[in-house]
């Protein structure tokens, strides 16, 4: 099949939120709806005597919050939601973000009162179900990644990175060999170098070779006794599998360093291979990507961290432990070598319930199939698009995502990747990631995920191809885009120059 046949079921044009609601040119803020004396709240009458706080602590006057009726509150935020695009709206092919469909049952189970109404400081005997869930999820994550134990505490991937790096630090410190540097590939996520600094290390960048893979020769020259470890995503941020991963791990291990697996792309290899078997010592998992939690406009997530047996003593506390004799579970805090606490309580429990539901719904074959279909979809879409937007590394085999470039288009027409993205919005889709990874000029990073149908992939490819044609024929359509959305292109420079951060 070379061209998508337009047909009734093709989901084109259904996605982009359009200006259908609210005033024609502006959705006011909640403050604009405020009228003195309006109220939405209701509280029962006070059934005990008043007991004012001491006057020296009292607030003078009420805070200037809006005063609105519940009806207005509901309309306001409902209308705002209609000015937003989510996975439920349509395909959301942001590369590196893994915006797959999120099963509704996972939402339903996290809201069970037996989970949602648990206080985090209840005694263990009242939370055996919750602890059991965490234990089973930890065991499953360890099996999936090939690690010995894991902490489920980090509330996001970046926090998982910091956790892993602090574990590295504790490991080297205990050996009396504190080191100063962490190696990271030049194509890495920005969180990697930022986490490196927060862990008190200095980042050294490993170049990619002509294939888009770690330049092993350069790595060999770069690592020495001062390198505490290497952080690596595999498949890497170009969507390519690091074929020399065993050699890479060996190079780092040979100088006494540890190898850290950034789990951003774990979804591509579930059931096919495991970081532990590749030589990684520490692994973080973005459960909200790999195991489908809605991203909620930016969060919450969860970033569990698994480690090899040797590193278990350094894991954060509290940890869930089990007593095999009784089958009971308990929270333990007494681990003298632990790096400490990464979160006020046990992390994003509600997100972990969703991950549990996803993992056990799919089971061993379902997880493997999810990985396989994600890779199939990415390769299919890359194939459909590459005539217009060539792969940045044409000899590589994309895994679950691929990086194309709009560089030829820019050279021919002056149209940039961002213009293409904006036009794709007008054609009814959320566009891909653009300008990441930084090592690819005019990068377009596309991750369709396994939950999209072939018809959707065809329609999405056709939208990109149409934008490419229009760049030559009617470039103004791209310069002007988007025009179907609630607002058109926004002046980001103005936002930074004339800071207006509150109403």
């Amino acid at each position: 099949m070379s061209q998508a046949e337009p047909r009734a079921s093709t989901p084109r044009g259904v996605g982009a939120p359009v200006r259908t609601q609210g005033p024609p040119d502006r959705q006011g803020t909640l403050k604009d709806l405020s009228r003195p004396g309006r109220r939405a709240f209701s509280l029962p009458p006070l059934d005990v005597p008043e007991a004012p706080v001491p006057p020296e602590h009292a607030r003078a006057g009420r805070p200037p919050l809006p005063e609105v009726a519940e009806r207005d509150l509901v309309s306001h935020y409902t209308r705002l939601s209609q000015r937003n695009y989510g996975v439920d709206t349509g395909v959301y092919p942001l590369g590196s973000c893994t915006m797959k469909y999120n099963p509704k049952i996972a939402e339903a189970v996290q809201a069970l009162p037996g989970f949602q109404r648990l206080h985090p400081l209840q005694p263990d005997h009242t939370v055996q179900g919750a602890l059991g869930l965490l234990w089973r999820l930890e065991r499953a994550l360890c099996e999936i990644t090939g690690m010995a134990r894991a902490t489920l505490q980090p509330p996001a991937g970046a926090c998982g990175e910091l956790t892993g790096l602090l574990i590295m630090r504790a490991f080297h410190t205990k050996r009396g060999d504190p080191r100063r540097r962490i190696a990271i590939p030049d194509s890495s996520h920005g969180t990697n170098p930022a986490s490196v600094r927060m862990a008190g290390y200095e980042a050294v960048h490993v170049p990619s070779d002509a294939r888009g893979l770690v330049d092993v020769g350069a790595l060999e020259k770069l690592v020495d006794q001062d390198v505490a470890g290497l952080m690596l995503t595999n498949p890497n941020t170009l969507g390519l599998f690091e074929e020399e991963i065993e050699r890479i791990a060996e190079v780092v291990h040979d100088v006494g360093g540890l190898v850290y697996y950034d789990g951003a792309n774990l979804n591509a290899i579930l059931g096919r291979c495991r970081p532990g078997d590749m030589g990684f010592d520490i692994v973080h998992i973005n459960t909200h990507k790999t195991f489908a939690t809605p991203h909620g406009g930016g969060g919450p997530g969860a970033g569990p961290v698994g480690v090899t047996e040797e590193l278990v003593p350094f894991l954060p506390f509290p940890r869930v432990e089990t007593d095999e004799a009784t089958g009971g579970y308990r929270l333990e805090t007494d681990y003298p070598e632990s790096i400490g606490r990464m979160h006020g309580f046990l992390g994003n429990f509600g997100v972990l319930v969703r991950a549990y539901a996803y993992v056990f719904l799919h089971g061993r074959d379902g997880l493997k199939e999810a990985a396989e279909r994600s890779v199939l979809n990415a390769n299919y879409l890359a194939h459909r698009m590459k005539g217009a937007f060539p792969l940045a590394y044409p000899d590589g085999r994309p895994m679950h995502e691929f990086v194309s470039t709009a560089r030829p288009l820019k050279e021919e027409t002056g149209i940039r990747a961002m213009d293409v993205a904006k036009r794709v919005i007008d054609l009814g889709f959320h566009p891909s990631t653009v300008y990441f990874p930084l090592v690819v000029e005019e990068a377009m990073m596309v991750e369709p995920t396994e939950t999209e149908t072939r018809e959707t992939l065809d329609a999405l490819a056709e939208a990109f191809l149409q934008a490419h044609r229009e760049a030559h024929e009617t470039p103004d359509l791209l310069h002007e885009a988007p025009v179907t959305t609630a607002v058109r292109r926004l002046d980001e420079a103005r936002a930074a120059r004339h800071l207006k951060l509150t109403w």
Binding site: N84, D88, E243, V353
Partner: protein, 441 residues
């Protein structure tokens, strides 16, 4: 149960189109030596009904605030979550969206986060808020990083009456950042006089503190500022209907656990890290910030702004590594604060204070039970001294249907911190007092 929609025919045709003969070919760049040559040691997948049954069985093995009358607090509270909050925050256009990298498709999330920032500032009297951090404890760690950005000022002074879990979190983050939090003593559960010199980055106070007590914040701010350090307050958002806000107290950085703003207890998370500061510090603030701007046609719109602070632009020079945050919890907080309004916030604060005072009176009528710090003012939590270990008493009260509070290590473990939210009725407080009397008899 699977969610990948292709039929076998789809897979075959797609493989053919891309010129491959099998799914295995897609993975041919993975060296044979690292391929997993067995199925994962996990159960077979199950149907939706089966996973529901499994999770219901797990949920049934828990006894939480749904079954027990909840007086547990210490950083997470059983406040009422009105139906409207998750009816709106749960709309899937919000719920299933990503970080708003394409602002034209994300005006809903962006404007709601802008409104959240606005309401946090209205509430606290601070000038700037970001769009959320992970939780209260990590928000404090980020506040310390901000404060330590002043060269030469490295030390971190923390009141001994700050939540011990927050202090533990600082210890962990400090291992990387290169500091150890230094506790300064309190007297009678509050106060304290830290010595602040030119090496001190910040003085941290919690108000109401980890005992529920009200702190002389202005005095501590005075000491911090006299020594040239920043003053950081951990505050309770729902205290601010009745207590003077951090902005009025002279605080430089205010952080809070935002769970109380419309988010469920959920066994500790997902919660909401609130951070607000002065405009002078906005370029040092971690995390996402939403700003108002104009589009090409001059219409008002919202974007992520000051991104040069952030990891995806600034990499190792970023103010923090945070990327995924707790946006959805901030959306819930915006709806909740809109629901509550200024009058609701005040009435709720008065209800908590009154019920806590009533609980203090009733519970200390029980023989052998006293206030841990007699005469010290509190807001919604009452620290008690029991005649027996708090853990034992708490566990025995569970058998009588009460989650009576959180044990305190003070007085040889004979402390119990009792939290009283607007949800607790006089009848429930009286019931707790009776049950406590029976347990101690």
């Amino acid at each position: 149960m699977r969610f990948a929609p292709h039929t076998d025919a789809d897979v075959e045709q797609m493989l053919e189109e891309i010129g491959l003969s099998s799914v295995d070919d897609l993975f041919d760049r993975i060296p044979a030596s690292v391929r997993l040559d067995r199925p994962l040691d996990l159960p077979e997948g199950v149907s939706e009904m089966e996973i529901l049954a499994d999770l219901k069985a797990l949920a049934a093995r828990n006894r939480g605030a749904e079954d027990l009358v909840c007086f547990a607090g210490a950083g997470a509270y059983d406040h009422y979550v009105p139906a409207v909050v998750w009816a709106l925050a749960g709309r899937s256009e919000f719920y299933t969206s990503y970080t708003p990298y394409q602002p034209e498709l994300s005006q809903g999330v962006l404007q709601t986060l802008f409104e959240y920032q606005s309401m946090v500032c209205a509430l606290t009297g601070m000038e700037v808020s970001n769009a959320s951090l992970y939780d209260g404890a990590t928000a404090l760690a980020e506040a310390v990083n901000l404060a330590r950005s002043t060269p030469g000022r490295d030390r971190v002074l923390v009141s001994a009456a700050v939540d011990p879990r927050y202090v533990e979190t600082l210890h962990t983050y400090g291992r990387g950042a290169g500091y150890e939090p230094e506790l300064f003593d309190v007297v009678g559960g509050r106060g304290g006089r830290p010595e602040v010199d030119g090496s001190v980055a910040c003085v941290i106070v919690q108000h109401p503190n980890a005992y529920g007590l009200l702190e002389p914040v202005r005095e501590l701010v005075g000491l911090a500022h006299a020594g040239g350090a920043r003053a950081i307050q951990v505050f309770d958002p729902l205290s601010l209907g009745v207590l003077a806000p951090p902005g009025e107290l002279g605080i430089d950085i205010a952080v809070a656990e935002g769970q109380v703003l419309g988010n469920h207890l959920s066994y500790g998370g997902p919660y909401l890290g609130v951070i607000a500061c002065r405009l002078d510090d906005v370029r040092r603030l971690p995390g996402r910030i939403v700003g108002e701007t104009l589009d090409l046609d001059g219409r008002t719109g919202y974007v992520l702004t000051l991104q040069a602070r952030e990891q995806h632009i600034r990499r190792e020079k970023a103010t923090s590594n945070i990327c995924t945050n707790q946006s959805l919890m901030a959306i819930a907080a915006a709806v909740y604060l809109g629901w509550l309004g200024p009058q609701g916030l005040e009435e709720l604060g008065r209800a908590c204070a009154a019920k806590a005072a009533y609980a203090a009176e009733r519970l200390t009528e029980v023989p052998g039970v006293d206030l841990l710090f007699p005469g010290a003012p509190f807001f919604k939590e009452v620290p008690l001294r029991l005649p027996r270990p708090g853990v034992e008493v708490r566990d025995e009260l569970i058998e009588r249907g009460y989650l009576a509070g959180v044990p305190l290590p003070d007085e040889g473990g004979r402390g119990l911190l009792v939290a009283v939210t607007e949800r607790r009725t006089r009848e429930e407080i009286d019931g707790l007092a009776r049950a406590l009397e029976e347990v101690l008899a």
